[in-house]
């Protein structure tokens, strides 16, 4: 239907988008793995980070890539506080309550953004926003390549933290056996908040990689919410490798769906995958049955 060149560049584009998706999904799956809740506010928090990157560039002239440490740190603190102050108190022993609390947070953040920043779609201008490089027959935008590489680096960093550090061990211990971890002297509430903080820090990094080639408006997060959930479910709830592979897969599917079905209908591909996976293989590709 399309010549191989277009197909190749579409797949390549999908992979670069997929890397950022994977980064967003890694944060979500980390939070799910430890707290066993779906952070419904994930998209809204990404939107918040995107606005932070936007205003740092527009008001203070800080380049998105240089703003990365700042935004990541800010999102970490925000996540830590959110979990400690709000979400931790909402549980009352029921997972549904936590889900509702994160839904409430999502509603508040999205509509505060609408209130203060209006519904305008904004993007930033950088020297490299429009530059491209040729890879074989495909032209890829430079920010997308940076996003691809950056997302992989941050993911690798996350793998290292989870696998090789005391914090990672504590997080995995709490995820597996909360009561046991508590008996071993691990401060469970602190680990919960750290996980939430790290999950949102991933969003901070994702926002810095996204914005030069993307845009921000108050609703931008809700588009990412279901995509990120799809990836997490596809990869298996709580599985890091799954989130990474799922991210690339969904990125490519979206890109090809857009190519064959057009922009608006192409979106359906993702939801179809989501509904299909949840119904027929809820344990995902790499996860044990939840």
């Amino acid at each position: 239907m399309f010549d191989p060149g277009i197909l190749f560049s579409s797949v390549l584009n999908g992979l670069t988008t997929g890397a950022v998706y994977a980064l967003i999904a890694l944060g979500l799956t980390l939070i799910y793995g430890v707290l066993h809740i779906i952070n419904f506010a994930h998209g809204a928090c990404l939107m918040l980070a995107l606005y932070a990157v936007y205003f740092l560039k527009e008001r203070l002239g800080i380049d998105p890539y240089l703003a990365l440490p700042l935004v990541v740190a800010a999102m970490f603190v925000f996540g830590y506080a959110l979990q400690r102050i709000v979400i931790n108190r909402a549980g009352h022993g029921k997972d549904e309550n936590i889900l509702l609390a994160t839904l409430g947070i999502a509603i508040v953040l999205e509509n505060l953004a609408l209130l203060f920043f209006k519904s305008d779609t904004r993007n930033i201008d950088t020297a490299y926003s429009l530059s491209t490089v040729a890879i074989g027959p495909a032209m890829i935008a430079v920010p997308k390549l940076v996003a691809f590489a950056g997302a992989l680096v941050v993911s690798a960093l996350l793998f290292w933290v989870m696998g090789r550090t005391d914090l990672g061990r504590a997080i995995r211990a709490v995820a597996k056996e909360k009561e046991g971890a508590k008996l071993m002297g691990i401060d469970v509430d602190h680990v919960y908040a750290m996980s939430f903080g790290i999950g949102l820090a991933c969003l901070g990094a994702a926002a810095c990689f996204l914005l030069p080639a993307y845009y921000v408006n108050p609703q931008v997060g809700s588009g990412f919410v279901l995509v990120a959930f799809t990836i997490v479910v596809l990869g298996g709830m709580g599985s890091f490798v799954g989130a990474l592979v799922g991210g690339f897969l969904v990125g490519v599917v979206e890109s090809l769906g857009g190519l064959y079905l057009g922009e608006s209908l192409g979106q359906i591909g993702i939801f179809a995958i989501f509904i299909g996976v949840v119904l027929f293989r809820p344990q995902g590709m790499f996860g044990a049955r939840a």
Partner: protein
């Protein structure tokens, strides 16, 4: 509850519903102020959304984040049956209600067959609502992004009333029907089964209840009332588009009002919808018409309620009564 034909509590509740219906129905005779009647009408409409959500979420324990799915379907059927089908609005109404119930049964059959619950169910309903929104944007018979406009032909025969009072009575009829169904859920064997499935599905199955069929009936009922709300919306505003129909605002309104008032109760959704509506009205008076401010308040109220009053505002009364009776905390 099942022993006597009608328990004293059940009879009291029925009397309460009758009193409520009578009092609200008489409002247009007391005041002709359009603003006041409009306020009551919109509060009743919000109540209907909350009641519909409460059937599945409150009594069935299945939290849907995408109830707009049924609302939008009802609204579109109501509009399309009149515009393309040439049906009278009163004939379109049962189609809208039936169609939404059918969509509910379809989603329920898929989700409950595969044992979805909790976050998974919430997200699947949301995903379905999104799919319907994108489809409504992309196909032609919904008018795409432009939406559908139902022409103004004011007459009772067209379900288009000259005054707010007509619409108020119409939505009141829906609300009373929902109250009666809720009453039935509290006083019938089916309702007891549904709550048993909510509280402990395995235990319910062990005593011979079929959770799949019980939950399926609940989502069908819930979808039907949501569809009625959608049809009502089209009759009042004479317009529908994909964002209004399947956007998250309606899903959120339904859920927040039910939770704020008290899930799984008879009067909780009414209480929640009225409280939220008064809050929204107060903010409008204080800050003017600002985009998003209502939703900010809904979100804040939702978080506060979940943290401090997980049984809803109606739960305060219950707690006080229990303290008074010295029974201590009831286990939900």
């Amino acid at each position: 509850m099942s022993g006597a034909r009608l328990s004293a509590q059940g009879a009291r509740q029925l009397a309460g519903i009758a009193l409520f219906a009578l009092a609200v129905a008489c409002l247009p005779l007391v005041t002709t102020s359009g603003a006041a009647l409009n306020f009551v009408m919109m509060a009743l409409y919000a109540t209907l959304l909350a009641q519909a959500w409460n059937i599945l979420g409150g009594f069935g324990g299945q939290f849907s984040f995408g109830h707009a799915l049924f609302f939008g379907t009802g609204a579109y059927i109501q509009a399309i049956a009149q515009l393309q089908g040439g049906f009278n609005a009163w004939l379109a109404l049962p189609m809208a209600v039936g169609g939404s119930a059918a969509v509910g049964l379809f989603v329920g059959a898929l989700s409950f067959r595969y044992g979805l619950k909790g976050s998974y169910f919430a997200l699947v309903t949301l995903a379905f609502a999104e799919v319907f929104r994108i489809v409504a944007l992309s196909v032609s018979f919904t008018g795409g992004g432009v939406g559908l406009m139902v022409p103004l032909r004011e007459s009772v025969a067209n379900m288009q009333f000259a005054t707010r009072a007509g619409y108020l009575w119409l939505v009141l009829a829906f609300v009373v029907a929902a109250l009666l169904v809720t009453w039935w859920l509290r006083n019938s064997r089916y309702g007891a089964y549904l709550q048993a499935v909510r509280d402990n599905e395995d235990a319910a199955r062990a005593v011979g209840v079929n959770p799949f069929r019980i939950k399926l009936a609940a989502i069908g009922l819930s979808g039907a009332f949501m569809g009625a709300a959608g049809a009502f919306y089209v009759q009042v505003f004479q317009y529908i588009d994909p964002a209004i129909a399947y956007g998250s605002v309606t899903s959120v309104e339904a859920l927040v009002a039910a939770i704020v008032g008290g899930m799984g109760t008879l009067w909780g959704p009414v209480l929640g919808a009225v409280v939220l509506h008064v809050l929204a009205d107060l903010t409008r008076n204080l800050f003017g018409e600002l985009p998003g401010i209502n939703m900010v308040i809904y979100g804040v109220v939702l978080v506060l309620i979940v943290i401090f009053l997980p049984r809803g505002i109606g739960g305060i009364g219950l707690s006080v009564r229990e303290l008074w009776a010295g029974k201590g905390r009831r286990h939900d």
